[in-house]
Subunit: 187 residues, 2 copies
DNA sequence: TCTTTCTATGCAACTCGTTGCATAGACAAG
DNA sequence: CTTGTCTATGCAACGAGTTGCATAGAAAGA
């Protein structure tokens, strides 16, 4: 149940509304965790009920009111407890790999377009992560020296970058294999 | 809902019982998909009801009877349809990254042991994958030339290997960062 | 003016996935 | 003879995650 903990971390970094959290989960947090607004609102409500979060109604101009959540003491305590527990190393869920093995019972060449599409998406993500890294960590506007929190954010981002680079290289390998099986590759 | 499709692929590669599928999901299929036996039995039952799979009761000696499942025509058709549909590129779910960012609000040095544990698990998996690769694809006992299905299995395994190597390198980076933060006292 | 887009929150229904428990035959070790 | 392990299947309950729908104020553009 790491969504709770991801929300706690994000709200400790900066308090915000469900809507703002959902946007963060599309951006920086989304580098390593995803969640829809439905999930987030539901969990926020439960965590508020459990006393882990504090809420504050904030009136805005030119926008609907929002509920700004921040972490209460029991929330910090719960996060701290979780940080000291061991967790299971990740297991993968890679739909595309299922498709690739399934292609043996269909037409492998028909997968090429799909793999190219994934390649493009991952290339886009990599560019996005690299832009974020320059903006926040390695560019001329980045604070020097970085504080502890930023160092940790940076090493997580480097993980996302490494993941995308690895994935792109593997998709190149997959494409070469599919071309080899389907005939000579196009120039 | 790719578990269905992963099961179809696995049963096309070789018919088997729920128990056998569960073991495959701990091994080769587990390189890119995980499932518990509960999930598998439940989905097998549903797929049988939908006419996607055929069952055969097999009596065994020295062991309980088993139900051997194989793919029926509607199952192949469903898999083929799915193979021609586009799917969403993966999104990550990385608990450890949540912990790393959370460590900014706790003691980063306390995470070192946990990260080392993950490092050991991933190193073990890498060794296991490499052994499998030598056994099935690159070793002296591997058939030459490989058929289409094996080529595709190999490229998926190469993906698993690339993933583990990338992860291990990143965990080294994480450890170096944690040591750096815990080593020199803050100014 | 009308439509679309963005901010902001939420319900209902459903499927997916995990955890704990239960059963049962065969075999091996103590 | 009891305990533990391996094969083999399954139920029940719960929590996690997805999809579709609904509402509503404000701004921007056709």
């Amino acid at each position: 149940m790491a969504l709770e903990h991801a929300i706690l971390v994000s709200l400790l970094e900066k308090p915000g509304s469900g809507y703002e959290l959902a946007r963060r989960f599309e951006r920086s947090i989304g580098y390593f965790w995803t969640a829809t607004h439905q999930q987030i609102y539901r969990v926020l409500k439960r965590m508020e009920g459990d006393g882990m979060l504090a809420v504050r109604e904030v009136a805005q101009q030119g926008r609907p009111d929002k509920k700004e959540y921040s972490v209460a003491a029991p929330g910090s305590a719960a996060l701290s407890r979780w940080l000291h527990e061991p967790i299971e190393p990740e297991s993968m869920r890679h739909d595309l790999a299922v498709k690739i093995r399934g292609a043996a019972f269909d037409d492998p060449a028909a997968l090429i377009r799909e793999v190219e599409r994934h390649h493009a998406v991952h290339s886009g993500r990599l560019a996005h992560y690299l832009a974020g890294e320059r903006r926040d960590f390695t560019g001329p506007d980045a604070p020097v020296p970085l504080d502890q929190g930023r160092e940790l954010q940076h090493v997580v981002l480097r993980g996302g970058i490494a993941y995308e680079r690895m994935t792109i290289a593997w998709l190149d390998d997959v494409l070469a294999t599919l071309h080899r099986l389907g005939g000579p590759p196009p120039a």
